[in-house]
């Protein structure tokens, strides 16, 4: 199967690869997927006092499309409010990366990852 240009670009030059301190109160971590299914994404966001995502990092075990989906997402969420980030739809990711139908699940996983990260951050604020 041939990969789209944007997938290859993100795959070869992934943006925002890295790790944040999961324990830090201004960091939200979302880890989704399962090794047995062939993809695991860890997406982390750092949120400032006014609820804007200042930084985002990811690491992904999975195919090129999974890596590209999470890389793209980290770019998109930076500078967004939590509400805005929550609105990002998997279909937008799939469209931007021109994912073929068999790879759409990668974008779904990315959407799950950002939601999980936001909810982790929010639960920390409530605690």
């Amino acid at each position: 199967m041939a990969y789209g240009e944007k997938v290859i670009d993100h795959y070869e030059h992934p943006r925002n690869v890295g790790v944040m301190d999961t324990k830090s109160s201004d960091v939200g971590t979302g880890m989704v997927g399962a090794p047995a299914c062939g993809d695991v994404m860890r997406l982390q966001i750092q949120v400032n006092d006014v609820g804007i995502i200042e930084d985002a990092k990811f690491k992904t075990y999975g195919c090129g499309s999974a890596i590209a989906s999470s890389s793209l997402l980290t770019e998109w969420v930076k500078g967004k409010t939590l509400e805005e980030a929550q609105e990002i739809k998997n279909t937008e990711i799939a469209e931007e990366l021109a994912l073929p139908p068999v790879k759409v699940h990668c974008s779904v996983l990315a959407e799950d990852a950002i939601r999980a990260a936001i909810s982790d951050y929010q639960s920390k604020q409530e605690a």
Binding site: V17, G33, A36, R42, C63, V102
Partner: protein, 404 residues
């Protein structure tokens, strides 16, 4: 070096230039283009002679009689003909078949079809090294078992089954024994005078012949009967109708003859190259060989690079043509059923790469492959949250993952 480097010889091989050249002489008006079944004129006779020679060349590689060779379109058709042909012919003797979970789909799906027709099939497990436990095989046989089908060499792992012993067991129990030899012919010796094998499937394109042609060996003594799956002009003694594709058969014959002449030399070289590749990779952390190293053909190395997903690794190895046991491309997300049958967990099955080398692989290419693979595995592990967890001493199996 020419890029991309071809390391997928088990998927198919290039046609040997000597074979391709000769095949061209059987197509045009300048060549021998006649129908081998045209017995009334010289065009037909010349074609018939060519087919006869090809039949002889195929038979000689496996120490069989030329009259035991039935031409087909490939190993898929041979497997279908053998399994369905025997089942349909001998159904009055019983309706039970024994095969193995690591077989090629051509065997497994033929068996599935028979199940739909009311036959019963036992699919045997293999040991972690990919080999069948002979006691398990023996225990699976029943009074109504008519056929056992076991592949000689596995296409994913290159593991060689002990078909000599399995053949003895079958013969002692009066069970017809079929062997899919698509991946073994021309790579390891096959002696059908010695082996108690009744039917054997072959393909030309796995050993430097053309695609779209194969053969089924059908034993004469003791005689094995088949019900034809392809009806028509009654070619191949009624077992497989259809005008013989002279140029394809000549190509297969040449490929089998060259294999007979050069197998020893080829294997020595491949053994050395395979050893070089394995030596160059095996000291990496969390690298696992899939399948037995000793009972394996020389051209195969199937490795799992833990914590790296196979498809992304294939994408990273873009200058190389390899295949992966990971099936992220399919909607099912199921990793290789062969590796699963070896007891590999899903993660390792998803992390596997099959390197298969052959006649035109060079040492220079192997060195490049080693360097590139090491570099890309390192890069992808730096991207892998699972690798981080492994490095932090977290047991990935202790985590409750949400399956999706």
């Amino acid at each position: 070096m020419k890029f991309p480097i071809y390391l997928d010889y088990s998927a198919t091989t290039p046609v040997d230039p000597r074979v391709a050249e000769n095949m061209c002489h059987y197509l045009t008006t300048d060549g021998i283009f006649g129908n081998p079944a045209s017995s009334s004129h010289a065009f037909g006779w010349a074609a018939e002679d060519a087919v006869k020679q090809a039949r002889q060349d195929v038979a000689e590689l496996i120490n069989a009689d030329a009259r035991e060779i039935v031409w087909t379109s490939g190993a898929t058709e041979s497997d279908n003909l053998a399994i369905k042909g025997v089942a349909h012919f001998y159904h009055k003797k019983g309706k039970h078949i024994v095969t193995v979970k690591t077989e090629h789909k051509a065997v497994l799906d033929s068996c599935r079809q028979l199940e739909r027709e009311g036959y019963e099939v036992t699919y045997l497990d293999v040991q972690p090294n990919g080999l069948i436990d002979l006691d398990v095989f023996r225990a699976a046989l029943r009074k109504d078992t008519i056929l056992a089908s076991v592949m000689h060499v596995n296409n994913e792992t290159g593991v060689i089954q002990d078909i000599a012993s399995i053949g003895e067991i079958c013969r002692n129990n009066k069970i017809i024994f079929h062997v899919d030899a698509a991946q073994s012919a021309g790579k390891i010796p096959i002696d059908l005078q010695a082996l108690k094998v009744d039917l054997m499937s072959f393909s030309a394109h796995k050993i430097y012949g053309p695609k779209g042609v194969g053969a089924l060996y059908v034993r004469r003594k003791p005689r094995i009967r088949l019900e034809a799956q392809m009806h028509g002009g009654g070619h191949e003694r009624g077992m497989r109708s259809g005008t013989l594709a002279t140029h394809q058969l000549v190509g297969m014959g040449d490929a089998f003859r060259i294999a007979r002449e050069e197998m020893g030399k080829d294997n020595e070289r491949l053994m050395e190259l395979r050893g070089r590749l394995w030596e160059g990779l095996k000291d990496m952390e969390e690298v696992y060989l899939n399948g037995d190293l000793e009972q394996r053909i020389s051209g195969n190395l199937n490795i799992s690079f833990n914590y790296v997903e196979g498809e992304s690794l294939m994408m990273a190895l873009k200058n190389m043509a390899v295949s992966s046991g990971s099936a992220c491309t399919s909607a099912s997300l199921e990793p290789s059923y062969v590796l699963r049958a070896l007891g590999r967990d899903d993660e390792l099955a998803h992390s596997s790469i099959r390197f298969t080398i052959g006649r035109f692989t060079t040492a220079e290419e192997i060195d490049y492959v080693i360097e590139m693979t090491r570099e890309q595995v390192r890069r992808l592990r730096d991207l892998s949250p699972l690798w981080d967890m492994y490095k932090d001493g977290i047991d990935i199996k202790s985590i409750e993952w949400a399956a999706h």
